[in-house]
Symmetry: C2
Subunit: 391 residues, 2 copies
Amino acid sequence: MPPAPQRPAAPAGTAGLPATTARVLDLVASGAVSSRADLVRELGLAASTVSARVQELVDQGLLAEDGEGTSRGGRRPRLLRIPDDGAVALAADLGSHHVRLGAVGLTGGVHDVEEHAANLAEGPAATLGLLVERLRVLAERQRAAGRTVRGLGVGFPGPVDTVTGRVVAPSRMPGWHLFALRDRLAEQLGLPVLVDNDANVMALGEHRTALPSLRHLVLVKAGRGIGSGVISHGQLYRGAGGAAGDISHVRVEAAAERPCSCGNIGCLETVASGAALVAALRERGLPVDGAADVLRLVQDGEPQATTLVRQAGRHIGTVLSVVVNFFNPQAVVLGGALAEAEPLVAAVRGMLYERCLPMATSDLTITASTTGPDAGLLGAGHAALREPAAS
Amino acid sequence: MPPAPQRPAAPAGTAGLPATTARVLDLVASGAVSSRADLVRELGLAASTVSARVQELVDQGLLAEDGEGTSRGGRRPRLLRIPDDGAVALAADLGSHHVRLGAVGLTGGVHDVEEHAANLAEGPAATLGLLVERLRVLAERQRAAGRTVRGLGVGFPGPVDTVTGRVVAPSRMPGWHLFALRDRLAEQLGLPVLVDNDANVMALGEHRTALPSLRHLVLVKAGRGIGSGVISHGQLYRGAGGAAGDISHVRVEAAAERPCSCGNIGCLETVASGAALVAALRERGLPVDGAADVLRLVQDGEPQATTLVRQAGRHIGTVLSVVVNFFNPQAVVLGGALAEAEPLVAAVRGMLYERCLPMATSDLTITASTTGPDAGLLGAGHAALREPAAS
DNA sequence: GCTCTTCCTTCGGATGCCGAAGAAAGAGCG
DNA sequence: CGCTCTTTCTTCGGCATCCGAAGGAAGAGC
């Protein structure tokens, strides 16, 4: 018996492309290459292979030739470009207190970004209502602008079983455990949906749009919570049980016996997360309500906030130093609201250079996310455009 | 210009087998499978593919049919076995104060193991002399026993550039920096040689002989020093610069400001390595000279030694808890001399179960090496038998 | 003795890669 | 201006690895 079709006949698109073909698209979309010869150099494949892959993509309309470039002493290269024919994926980046939405195109652009307050702790029902409503409007707007909507990618701030598309035991968010987020959204929107952890989609976004040539990188999302996404051998690394990338529930000295939402004590999260900083600043009488407020105070030069954020960076750096020695990545990328605070980035850098082995840091890039607040949307959208649709 | 032949014409052997073919051999050698049908189930490949691969191997004499098994309700399977035709690789496991040698066969057996005292700190010349002398005798003995020597695998207790086969900046071993260990040995023995870090070869040994079906595991070698080898997606993970797997130079609270051989302070190594335990026990007036002596004291129930070893296990467990949350492996395997001390294993287990996320430990195996002191030899030998010879 | 299961092989075909050869189109130089 | 060298890209034949369909061989169970 063939599996029941879970979704309306998906438009033939980028979904389910072979690995090499997808890499060609990513490299062109990111601007890292602009001709077949560039691809040969970047991919290390035979020219004939690259030529064949490019031809396929051109035939499918996923890639277009766009005039000629400048000669480097021989024949001029024929430039390649992603035709912005309007294929987009909707993308949703869920946070514990907000949802950010947008439509991501093949070229890596994000259209019609919007952000709404939402409290995920109130359970799936309320959030889902808002989400579906806004996504329908967003989809309609894309179609009105002549763009085809190919799917939806969602980043969720907690563990996700990517095989079933269900949320797994998120802390501080009662009612979400085993909620079939993917299937509910797919039903209500009539689109193929992909759901993954927020740090994972952010790692994908950074890797695919900013650093596609790197093989091993760690993205740390420092917002209200702390998460990380791992790219290994150019691919998202999930570990044995899909739980890889947690650095939030590691015990740090400074957190002593503070109880954590995970049920343990002394976790990094209790001293270095946005939520912890908000609590600490409120105790000191400062009017803050979220990680964004903390960031604002830091940017205004408020001394207590700056000290706390720098201290948080040190704690994160302490934990990351173990990760860097062990995993030896090419880059550590800091994302999330707090990564926009320079003192945090500086503290992480300092800690890593002080504590890690020279062999691990000599070729290590440590940087704040270059794609800013849209990194999660980009990753979720890209993944939805590229992955086999039903996953 | 073709590359100059670096070594005498290598005998056609298992060297440089395609990945799938090598996996077939590993699975049969480890006893995990015993028929083509088993291979189909284990590898998830089409029966026709498995059949073709097996046929190739049988034709090459690397695999043999060995009668029939018992029926499971249909035709009896034709059993497969590795013919012990006597193809072996020499293997050398170098420690800072000893070298262990043996010959590893395709079936996973180790012949003629011997161990000699040697002080690597005296520089490469002295060690190399002993090594080459003993290896020549060992090779001769293999040939006299009718076995073919196909190569040499070496585990070195420090960083190794596996591309060039050179030692890189090992601490406490002056004279070894950039020493071309692989090429020197290859010249003097006339064999293809493979050199890698000792923890890496040990991880390979454990993975290939005991746990070949696992995709992600971490092996910790706790001997005089502390190292780790990482298997990710079934393959050795080296990281961006080949430095992956270090857990020894992570700062731990209890080590305070103790200076470490790496030039930093407060490293795990200064409180949990065999060298550190030896120093601590000597300070207390106990006559110990190496990790083996420490182990003996523990097994004799000496209280101070037991306390120290348990404490060392806690420190190692503390660092490993970060690794387990981040990397989410299927197994943590403890090897090296100290792993034979039950209190250390128990302490690591306790620490991991206490500190890690339930999601990371629910399906995690934490165990001492099942291959014992020969794990390193097995890994080095296996690697030498399987890898493209000149690497 | 019949059917169903299990094990394994044979055959044709798809995919993805490669290298050799060469065509197209420029730069540089005498 | 014409010649050569460089760069870019395509065409073509070939190889390696995998697949699925079909079927043969040999058992268990009724």
